[in-house]
């Protein structure tokens, strides 16, 4: 008998007050059955007021701690509320809520612990050189084909939720997340998804942050496979 699990949509957000109403509206239009949780990572643009008006579940803190911390807190909160499956997507509107169905369908397979929505899996016009190089490195280390190592569009099953609620990598964590899940024996699959430009505003990833993230990823590629497995 197939177990019906409650599904939570988790959206980490930093200064996305302008985009959140449209993102939430699209989610409610496409999947009214999913509950929505936004984690406000130290926004200074009045995101909290927007969240109160939108009537979604939310949590947050006053200073920026990084998307990894936001996702970890969201997963922990969701898992305490009894959500066995979590769909994570970005708050800038680049992910199409219609693709959630495809991620969840793949996650329903028995042997799949997490599904990544890849923007480049199906496209002839692939990612830029650096992203392609990063995906190649992550593929080599995880011994699994990864076409989009920086995507923030995930569907996480019960095993992944339980593990990541305690151990989700910090900082700019997407590439490290692949390494971590692989190290701990979780099966990750990819499905192709569409990609749009952010609805408004600019990405908070500055050149300095990108450089720091790249250095961290380089270190993670060496260190994470050498770390002991963790108990969820």
């Amino acid at each position: 008998m197939k177990v019906v699990r409650r599904i939570l949509t988790l959206i980490p957000a930093h200064n996305e007050a302008a985009n959140l109403p449209a993102v939430v509206a699209e989610l409610r239009h496409r999947r009214a059955d999913l509950e929505i949780l936004v984690v406000d990572d130290g926004s200074t643009d009045g995101t909290t007021d927007v969240l109160e008006r939108l009537g979604v579940r939310w949590l947050g803190w006053s200073r920026r701690r990084g998307v990894g911390s936001a996702v970890r807190a969201g997963l922990r909160y969701g898992s305490r509320l009894g959500f066995g499956v979590v769909v994570r997507l970005d708050a800038d509107g680049q992910h199409d809520a219609a693709d959630i169905e495809r991620l969840l369908a793949r996650l329903a397979d028995d042997d799949v612990d997490a599904v990544l929505g890849s923007r480049y899996a199906d496209q002839d016009a692939g990612p830029r050189f650096l992203k392609r190089a990063l995906a190649s490195v992550v593929s080599a280390v995880t011994r699994r084909r990864v076409t989009d190592a920086t995507s923030g569009f995930w569907a996480l099953g019960p095993r992944a939720v339980a593990l990541l609620a305690r151990h989700h990598p910090r900082g700019y964590p997407e590439p490290e997340l692949h390494l971590f899940l692989s190290r701990n024996g979780l099966n990750v699959e990819e499905v192709p998804v569409g990609s749009r430009a952010r609805l408004s505003g600019r990405s908070s990833l500055t050149a300095t942050r990108l450089f720091a993230a790249a250095a961290r990823v380089l270190l993670a590629v060496i260190i994470v496979p050498l770390r002991a497995r963790v108990d969820s």
Partner: protein, 122 residues
């Protein structure tokens, strides 16, 4: 014969040792972080009292100029302390992250309960 520099070194080492102990007494320096400083101060005091130890260590290490051993020791101790402090800082950052996340979750749970209470009351 005791030279002036030896007296200064002994006084300086004793003063440093007392300073560390006083900071611990006033609870401005936690006991677990004082150990390396106390060991360092005692090592300095030992080297100041027994100067021949510096010379024999230098000779054993193949260092021609004895006082270089002191500098080498200082660099090793300071590097060890800095590395240790980085470990402590990382641990504390991790704990702060957890506490911040837990506080946010608790605040959300309180909000949920209040909202439920309001719905029941209306």
């Amino acid at each position: 014969m005791t030279s002036r520099i030896q007296v200064v070194a002994i006084v300086g080492s004793v003063w440093f040792l007392l300073l560390v102990l006083e900071l611990v007494r006033r609870r401005k320096l936690a006991e677990e972080y004082s150990a390396l400083w106390i060991v360092g101060a005692l090592a300095l005091l030992g080297a100041a009292i027994r100067r021949d130890l510096i010379d024999s260590t230098a000779s054993w290490l193949g260092i021609y100029y004895g006082p270089t051993v002191l500098l080498l020791g200082l660099v090793v101790v300071v590097s060890a302390v800095l590395l240790w402090m980085s470990v402590v800082l990382s641990r504390q950052q991790s704990e702060i992250d957890r506490l911040t996340e837990e506080t946010a979750i608790l605040a959300a749970e309180v909000r949920d309960e209040r909202s439920k209470g309001r719905r029941r009351a209306s």
